[in-house]
């Protein structure tokens, strides 16, 4: 039985007091405990940013990599060992900015992992520039006249690319978030959970209070996430009402299934066959 203590870690947390990341961390731990995954069976891969520091703040195997590249690394790890249970922590800049191309292609591959995007709609670690998800008009030290690009609609893009599981969480609702993460981790294939995460230091627009007034829980309203058209429509809903919960779910073969990797066991476990190779070499 895995308990929450298994996930406690003495490494000093480096987030700002009051940051929305703390609830995400708590929901993650809660999910892992409920799913009974021991730390040594969990691999968390992250990019660079405040979000990407997450795995340091609990106990697990971790690869804290490069800005934008977590999904590519995770894809490679899966090729080597498709039995790995992988969670990816990423920021909105990390995943939708620098990592935009990998985001699209990990979805297209349907790599079996759970991607948690800590969407604070700002570049936190580099001290407050606009991110791809920043609201239009947001003013920063470099976007001095306000952001002029439409916020990146990750849910819609993910759906356009045929994603099998897409959800939105809110770090102000730990219980729901934990449920989403659990559902995501049980799902076979690529899972995107975009998490609305207030940044108390740099985002004075999308605050806890701002979200609290707007978010609602799709599942509480009885929505079943099996209609693609409805999911697309929901992905565009933003403003007075912001949907959270599972937006779309449809299972299909995952990447390592599609490439037929699964049948012979993980590559990492296979054996080098000198005889066979020498035979080939000698035949040339």
């Amino acid at each position: 039985m895995v308990t929450i203590e298994n996930y406690e870690c003495s490494y000093e947390n480096k987030w700002c007091p009051g940051c929305g990341n703390f609830s995400i961390l708590a929901s993650m731990k809660d999910s892992f405990v409920r799913l009974d995954i021991p730390p040594e069976k969990l691999l968390i891969i992250s990019g660079i940013g405040q979000a990407a520091k997450t795995p340091h703040f609990l106990k697990c195997n971790l690869f804290h990599s490069l800005h934008g590249r977590a999904l590519a690394i995770a894809t490679g790890a899966k090729m080597a060992n498709h039995d790995l249970t992988i969670v990816v922590n990423s920021g909105d800049g990390d995943c939708y900015g620098e990592g935009g191309n990998h985001f699209m292609n990990a979805i297209r591959r349907n790599v079996d992992l759970t991607l948690l995007v800590h969407n604070n709609k700002v570049y936190g670690l580099t001290a407050g520039q606009a991110s791809p998800t920043s609201d239009m008009g947001m003013v920063t030290k470099v976007q001095r006249h306000g952001v002029v690009m439409e916020p990146f609609n990750s849910l819609a893009v993910a759906l356009s690319l045929g994603i099998g599981f897409v959800a939105r969480g809110f770090s102000g609702n730990e219980a729901q978030l934990s449920k989403l993460i659990q559902a995501g981790m049980k799902f076979k294939g690529f899972v995107l959970i975009d998490i609305l995460q207030p940044c108390v230091s740099f985002n004075q627009i999308n605050t806890f209070g701002w979200y609290k007034k707007r978010v609602y829980d799709l599942q509480e309203e009885g929505y079943t996430p099996d209609d693609f058209q409805k999911a697309i429509s929901l992905s565009f809903q933003w403003g007075d009402r912001i949907p959270t919960g599972i937006i779309y779910r449809k299972e299909s073969p995952s990447f390592t299934e599609k490439i037929g990797m699964v049948k012979d066991g993980p590559l990492v476990d296979r054996k080098y066959d000198h005889g066979k190779l020498q035979e080939l070499l000698s035949s040339l």
Binding site: N61, L62, H64, L66, G76, N105, V268, Y272, H274, L277
Partner: protein, 565 residues
């Protein structure tokens, strides 16, 4: 009489020039001969000018020859472009409309092909005619065609046999001065280009994951690897870009398998950040950089040696890496295998630096290749760790090498960070951790240097030494033979194990000569710069070529003689 004949087959892209070349090569192989054949083509799929230039010899051969004995011109343009390369008495075999020139041997290649059954057998006709001229026994060709077409179904075999025969017979009255008797015993080594050699070397290095983005002249490696992936525990993935490719490779290696990528030019640029990640996280990876002329897109299908200083210094700040620059397919095989082994052993990235000449040229090696009996892996499991629950991925050791456990393979938690870190893998900004980690990573230097093999020396006691690296090995060596024939005391030194740099060994290799010259395919003599940087020795001069075409021994001889005059 020694055999040394150059056949050049030229035409448009899409005419199947390479098929003619492949067939000739296979016949030569079967006959116990050697070949070295360069592949010249434009960055386009149809049309334009391309050729396959095969040098046939009864001795191992590693350089192309600049003069042609037999020109197979699949169109008029080929004849016009290359007729001046013919040696005196050399002939051009081709479809001739009207009165043939003196050096033309008219063969109605296309008509014969149609007669054989289909226009596309023109290549076989041409190969047949070539072999006829060279005096090869028809049975040899026949058996190659059988190997190739038997079981292909339809009338492919029959049609090709008939095309071959028609071509062969069409020249039976022609006189070709270099016709010879085909009796050289059993096949010698293997028929290989560099791409295939690297792919096989990767298998011999137990590569399990390869990720790449298509890029000439590196793609061939992946095409070869891919064709092997059904029979070996190996997965080849085409990534969305080079950045993804190298990071996939890092992920795969981190998760426990040996992994590689291959690329060229701009693709390598895009991988430099990942290279640094491998350096910082001490994740073994192998990267093949197949050089082509740049900068930017440059000449995509041509050859160069312009990336030496770049690969040695690529990525911000400092970390150790291996750089190997093989000179022949056998070396490419062996060094790729060794790159996997050493990357794994030292937990560093290893770069195999090749070029279009090596990758795309066809060679018959001296010996068959051989695979290692076993693969020594440098990873630890819980049973080899004193206290798995206290495992620290970056434990300080005197060798600089920390025991490497794999994630999710036991109780040991594996924490890896591209940020500077403490021994346990957590981010650390502490001065001591930073110093310890830089020192730990650098501490691998002496042992890595020990792994580097001495430069290969040839007539090394000579007064004048030619120094090169990578694919120009063959041409340089042959130019040495020619210089010596002309009474010049010349030798050469080939540096293939290039980084970390064995200054002591290079110093030694160069210390006894009166002067040395670097011979390179770039415009600034990068090896010269490197040798000076590392040993203080200054080259007397350099023979540089940067037109995108492979070195011919003759050019090197001329380059050196220009200095001597």
């Amino acid at each position: 009489m020694a055999v040394d004949i150059t056949v050049k087959i030229g035409g448009e892209a899409g005419q199947g020039i390479q098929t003619v070349g492949d067939l000739l090569t296979l016949v030569c192989h079967k006959a116990g001969l050697y070949v070295m054949a360069i592949n010249d083509f434009e960055s386009r799929i149809r049309g334009g000018k391309s050729f396959f230039q095969i040098r046939i010899s009864d001795k191992p051969v590693y350089a192309p020859h600049h003069r042609v004995n037999l020109l197979v011109a699949l169109n008029q343009r080929t004849y016009d472009s290359y007729k001046d390369e013919l040696v005196p008495g050399g002939i051009s075999m081709m479809d001739v409309k009207g009165e043939p020139e003196e050096n033309q041997l008219p063969v109605p290649i296309n008509d014969l092909a149609v007669k054989a059954g289909k226009k596309i057998t023109a290549n076989t006709v041409a190969a047949g005619a070539c072999l006829g001229l060279l005096g090869a026994p028809f049975e040899l060709f026949e058996s190659i065609l059988k190997d190739r077409f038997e079981g292909k179904g339809g009338d492919a075999l029959e049609m090709n046999l008939s095309a071959a025969r028609l071509g062969y017979d069409s020249v039976k009255d022609a006189k070709f001065p270099w016709s010879f008797t085909w009796q050289f015993g059993d096949p010698k080594g293997s028929v290989l280009n560099g791409s295939k050699a690297i792919a096989l070397g990767a298998l011999a290095g137990d590569c399990r994951v390869a990720a790449f983005y298509p890029m000439s002249p590196a793609t061939g490696i992946m095409v070869n690897l891919s064709s092997l992936s059904d029979d070996f525990p190996l997965f080849v993935e085409q990534a969305e870009d080079e950045i993804a490719a190298i990071n996939m490779v890092i992920g795969a290696s981190f998760a426990g398998v040996r992994a590689m990528t291959s690329t060229s030019g701009g693709g390598f640029c895009l991988m430099t950040e990942g290279l640094g990640l491998a350096g910082m996280t001490e994740t073994p990876i192998v990267v093949v950089n197949a050089q082509r002329p740049g900068p930017a897109t440059g000449l995509p299908t041509r050859t160069a040696q312009g990336d030496l200083m770049f690969v040695i210094n690529a990525s911000q700040d400092e970390f150790l890496r291996f750089v190997f620059a093989p000179g022949t397919p056998s070396e490419a095989f062996e060094m790729t295998e060794r790159a996997f082994h050493l990357a794994d052993k030292y937990q560093v990235p290893a770069i195999v630096l090749t070029d279009q000449t090596l990758n795309d040229s066809l060679y018959i090696t001296e010996r068959p290749l051989s695979a290692p009996r076993e693969i020594e892996r440098y990873v630890v499991g819980d049973d080899q760790i004193d206290s798995p629950s206290e495992y620290r991925r970056y434990a300080i050791t005197s060798s600089g090498i920390s025991p490497r456990a794999l994630p999710c393979s036991g109780k040991a938690l594996v924490l890896v960070s591209g940020n500077e870190h403490s021994e346990d893998g957590h981010i650390s900004e502490a001065i001591t951790d930073r110093m310890n980690m830089v020192d730990k990573r650098n501490a691998k230097t002496p042992a890595m240097l020990e792994e580097m093999r001495p430069p290969e020396r040839y007539h090394a006691e000579s007064e004048l030494l030619l120094v090169g690296w990578g694919s120009s090995k063959g041409p340089i060596r042959e130019s040495v033979d020619r210089l010596r024939e002309d009474g010049i005391s010349a030798g050469c030194v080939h540096i293939a194990d290039i980084w970390p740099f064995r200054a002591d060994l290079v110093q030694k290799a160069l210390s006894s000569c009166k002067s040395f010259f670097v011979v390179e395919q770039n415009s600034t003599a990068q090896l010269g710069r490197l040798i000076r940087e590392q040993t203080g020795l200054v080259a007397e001069g350099s023979v540089l070529k940067y037109d995108g075409r492979p070195f011919f021994p003759d050019e090197i001889v001329r380059g050196i003689k220009a200095y001597l005059d």
